[in-house]
């Protein structure tokens, strides 16, 4: 029995990463459910992480006060971001939101209060693995509880056909604002957890590379399935570690696995699961 704690100490950083990546994947999966290819999760994460860390480290606030405000900030930024980009769809929305993410990163890089390129150091490790998984479970439970709510249905119809959605009285503009606010809040949670389990936060922690990874988790998992997004995050976080013995070549195998899932398993991991369980036809993948 004493091996279990040992395993935990050895792998807890990895476990933390999986949990945080899974939360980020959930944040993107909310956007994809509404058909919005809005790729600003990394920026939301950075905003909340910085706000929270600055409030605690620089101004000496208690974490319990700073964290909700930080998450509120990233949610508000998400909602505000939805307004100017309301006419953008598909790849145009993607690139505009990626551009927004880059702007946020560069601002963090140039400001004094964020510590510039060196980042913020000495963030107390006030949070740990149970907090990460508690948050992940809470968000998962909320999403599960709301899976058949009016809002979830409004998201689904907005994704499939915006004109039809408007035709049956769905305010698609509002769906987008609320969707992005939720995405902002969820990614914000990930940002706070990241900052307070890693001791430091730098602008490169939420650069485009991370956004790319989040996108990979979601698509590997099966685009609109939250459970798939979590599984995707777990698989793609563990793979590079599992292939560590290959040293510099290890990403070759991660890339091969990624390609194989996409080519041979339309609908991602979630669909494989479903197919195995009930032999149901694979649902259509996103048309985002």
């Amino acid at each position: 029995m004493h091996e279990l704690p040992l395993l935990f100490t050895r792998y807890h950083t990895l476990l933390d990463q999986i949990g945080i990546n899974a939360i980020l994947a959930l944040s993107l999966s909310i956007c994809l459910r509404a058909g919005q290819l809005a790729l600003a999760q990394a920026a939301f994460m950075g905003i909340a992480g910085y706000v929270c860390a600055i409030a605690v480290v620089t101004f000496g606030w208690p974490l319990a006060a700073a964290a909700p405000i930080a998450v509120g900030c990233s949610a508000a930024v998400g909602a505000l971001l939805a307004l100017p980009v309301e006419r953008l769809r598909g790849v145009y929305l993607a690139i505009a939101t990626i551009g927004f993410g880059e702007i946020v990163r560069i601002v963090a890089y140039n400001l004094q209060i964020t510590g510039g390129g060196d980042g913020l150091n000495g963030i107390p490790p006030l949070l740990s693995t149970p907090w990460i998984y508690g948050t992940l479970l809470t968000i998962g439970a909320l999403l599960y509880a709301a899976r058949n709510s009016r809002f979830a249905l409004a998201q689904a119809i907005t994704r499939e056909d915006e004109a039809a959605a408007a035709g049956v009285g769905v305010d698609t503009g509002r769906v987008r604002v609320v969707t992005l606010a939720c995405a902002g809040a969820i990614a914000g949670c990930a940002g706070v957890l990241y900052a307070f389990t890693n001791f430091f936060l730098t602008p490169s922690d939420f650069a485009f590379g991370r956004m790319e990874q989040i996108l990979v988790y979601c698509v590997i998992g099966g685009v609109t399935s939250p459970l798939g997004a979590v599984l995707g995050a777990a698989v793609m976080t563990v793979l590079p570690e599992a292939f560590r013995f290959l040293q510099d070549f290890r990403d070759v195998l991660s890339g091969v696995v990624l390609l194989a899932v996409i080519v041979f398993a339309p609908g991602g991991i979630a669909a494989l699961w479903r197919r195995g369980a009930r032999k149901k036809p694979v649902p259509r993948t996103a048309n985002a």
Binding site: Y109, L215, I220, D248, V252
Partner: protein
């Protein structure tokens, strides 16, 4: 070229990097630069065709939308970058100094080298050649037909798979040429050099309006000019923020890009 076939290709940056390494290896093996450039262009083109076969063709057959191929191109890029890192390590590589030696030329207040002129000339030649191929040749017509309406093009007897493979060859060969030129310009070849152009290349294409080469060129110029002005009047550390800010504003004003023909697509 990302846009002509309505595919967002994030592996382009990896091919860009790969070509620079191919050229570098050929030059280091003692061959002249021009041989390295040609080898790099051919290698990049071939890798582009492999990319299409492996990462895009299977998805095309099942109509997987634009998001899924985007991810498979990330997978392909991961493989190429990891191979390059495995072979060449994480350090910067430089071209032998002989290759880059060129006397500086002063023209009024502007100083540049023959080398800069050569790079500019090469870029212009490539752009003109591309425009010629796209507008005036049978292949160009076929590519545009496939881009416009795949089904109709197939009905007219165009071999879709062959046309798309050729498009990938051209696009990747061009990307490869750009990689070599950039490697020479900054005299640094490193496994993650593609990251420097990836986002901006994507931004330029989308800014110009997907599927429009003129648009891409205009988008490139706007981005370049904005960056230069930002450096001149504000500060170089804010350059990229301002460039992306301008891009953001242009997209808000023109949701389908500057020269985007397509009406708003319902998502």
């Amino acid at each position: 070229m990302f846009g002509v076939l309505d595919i967002l290709n994030l592996a382009h940056a990896a091919i860009f990097m790969l070509a620079a390494f191919v050229c570098l290896s050929v030059v280091l093996a003692g061959y002249p630069l021009i041989a390295g450039l040609l080898a790099a262009i051919v290698a990049a083109g071939l890798v582009g065709v492999i990319l299409d076969r492996v990462a895009f063709a299977p998805l095309r057959r099942r109509n997987a939308g634009t998001l899924v191929p985007l991810i498979s191109s990330i997978g392909f890029a991961m493989i190429i970058e990891a191979i390059a890192r495995g072979i060449y390590g994480v350090n910067d590589h430089q071209f032998p100094s002989l290759v880059r030696q060129a006397p500086p030329i002063t023209l009024g207040p502007v100083t540049f080298t023959l080398f800069d002129v050569a790079i500019l000339a090469a870029s212009i030649v490539l752009m003109v050649a591309l425009a010629y191929v796209m507008r005036a040749t049978k292949l160009g017509r076929e590519i545009r037909a496939v881009a416009d309406d795949r089904m109709a093009a197939a009905l007219l007897g165009i071999d879709i798979d062959r046309t798309i493979a050729l498009t990938f060859f051209i696009a990747s060969a061009l990307g490869g040429a750009a990689g070599v030129l950039a490697g020479l310009q900054y005299n640094s070849v490193v496994f993650d050099m593609g990251g420097r152009i990836e986002l901006k290349g994507l931004a330029v294409i989308i800014l110009g309006g997907m599927g429009s080469i003129t648009g891409a060129v205009i988008g490139g110029f706007i981005l370049g000019i904005t960056e230069t002005l930002a450096v001149a009047f504000i500060s170089s550390s804010w350059r990229d923020a301002i460039a992306f800010g301008v891009m953001f504003l242009i997209l808000i004003a023109r949701p389908a890009g500057l020269l985007g023909r397509r009406a708003l697509r319902t998502a």
